[in-house]
């Protein structure tokens, strides 16, 4: 039974490790939007900041894909991961009028 327990714990660790994770870090003038998708071949970031022109994200050392955006502006966004639209888990959301949702970045004033 103990071995079974260890196997379950190991599986859960693996599950969490592989799971995609979305986060952002606030810097002086910009916000760094990061999406952890180690297996992705190409990740684009599309936002209302520039008319949803997809911008290619760059991989950083944390196996995350990142872009930087202006800090004090509210905007809607989503990712395109390997040519598939991907809306991460995020606090603020709204309907996108296409049957899905968009994330909203709300600056902390």
């Amino acid at each position: 039974m103990k071995r079974y327990l260890l196997l379950v714990i190991a599986f859960l660790f693996l599950l969490i490790g592989c799971a995609s994770r979305h986060y952002f870090t606030v810097e002086e003038d910009v916000v760094r939007m990061c999406l952890r998708k180690p297996d992705a071949k190409a990740v684009y970031f599309a936002s209302s900041l520039d008319g949803f022109e997809p911008v290619m994200a760059k991989q950083n050392g944390d196996e995350a894909w990142e872009v930087t955006v202006p800090k004090n502006v509210e905007f809607r966004y989503f990712y395109i991961v390997d040519e598939v639209v991907y809306v991460p888990v995020c606090a603020f959301k709204e309907h996108d009028d296409f049957g899905a949702e968009n994330c909203i970045y709300v600056p902390r004033m």
Binding site: R21, H22, A57, F92
Partner: protein, 307 residues
């Protein structure tokens, strides 16, 4: 053993959800070498030829229909950018042309509806635009048309009592902003509307509504859901709490609800549990409503609206 396994699995699953999308501000101390790998998004002004972009992607027919829609919005004094932006968003998402046109029409309709209500709430052009945009964002966040109408109706009632027009406009802006943020955070249209409606009914000022919104946004992390938190806030306001006390009052209510559940009380008789919170509103507002009387404050907004 099975129990232990279940607990571990539950803990892990909860953890994976809890960690999602947490702003990891500690990471901004990462080394300078990462800086050079960044790609940067610059805010772009809409200066390119819209027609060309749409035509090259979907053909002449689509471009003409889209252009007609945009011109119509412009003629009506509605903002063109949100309609255009929807087209771009659809293109980025690879949505078929017909669906993009429908979505553009929905956006224009939202602003049309919002403009109508905003004009009833304020007279200055700049203020109308500000309130209109806020209402349109409420609708995009999930507020239903009729709920927006209820808030607008209550604001109009309140405007008759407010000292100045500026005060009334400020309250309208903050009220819709609060409803928008609650909906964006996942509260149902009815819960968000009831909370804002109660705030207006209980004479919250624009500043009070802002405090309420800030408190909601800050404490959503600790609540079981945005809808439950909105219901708790509505109940607290109904009880006469000020905006600074909403969160602590909601916590007390949730604790009381839990205790009542543990003791096997249903709360459905409206006497022992004050309704709302984690139990749901139960539709009667509990003992508070019976204290306040049918015609006064304390009921749900849709009931008072009917009176």
């Amino acid at each position: 053993m099975k129990k232990i396994l279940t607990i571990i699995m539950a803990a892990f699953l909860c953890a994976s959800v809890a960690f999602a999308d947490e702003p990891d501000e500690g990471l901004h101390k990462m080394g300078g070498e990462l800086q050079q790998h960044r790609s940067t998004v610059q805010t772009r002004i809409y200066n390119e030829d819209v027609q060309n972009r749409l035509r090259s992607r979907f053909g002449e027919d689509f471009a003409l229909k889209a252009q007609r829609m945009i011109m119509k919005a412009k003629e009506e004094g509605l903002p063109v950018e949100p309609v255009l932006e929807k087209a771009y968003e659809g293109m980025a998402k690879g949505v078929p042309a017909e669906q993009i046109l429908q979505a553009m029409e929905r956006v224009a309709n939202r602003y049309r509806y919002a403009h109508r209500h905003a004009k009833g709430l304020t007279k200055e052009a700049g203020d109308i635009h500000r309130v209109r945009n806020m209402i349109a964002q409420c609708l995009a966040a999930g507020l239903r048309d009729e709920d927006v109408g209820h808030i607008a109706y209550k604001l109009q009632q309140r405007a008759q009592d407010d000292a100045t027009k500026a005060e009334a406009t400020e309250l309208a802006t903050e009220a819709f902003r609060a409803a928008r943020d609650m909906a964006r955070l996942g509260a149902t249209s009815m819960a968000a509307t009831d909370t804002v409606w109660q705030a207006i009914d209980h004479r919250y000022s624009a500043k009070d509504v802002k405090t309420m919104r800030d408190s909601f946004v800050t404490n959503i992390t600790y609540a079981s859901s945005a809808t439950n938190l909105a219901k708790s806030y509505a109940n607290s306001i109904r009880r006469g709490e000020g905006p600074e006390m909403l969160w602590s009052s909601s916590r007390i209510e949730a604790a009381g609800t839990r205790r009542a559940m543990e003791m096997g009380l249903s709360g459905s008789d409206g006497t022992s549990v004050s309704g709302g919170g984690d139990l749901g509103s139960g539709g009667n507002g509990g003992s508070v409503r019976s204290r306040s009387g049918g015609g006064g404050r304390g009921g749900h907004y849709w009931r008072q609206r009917a009176n």
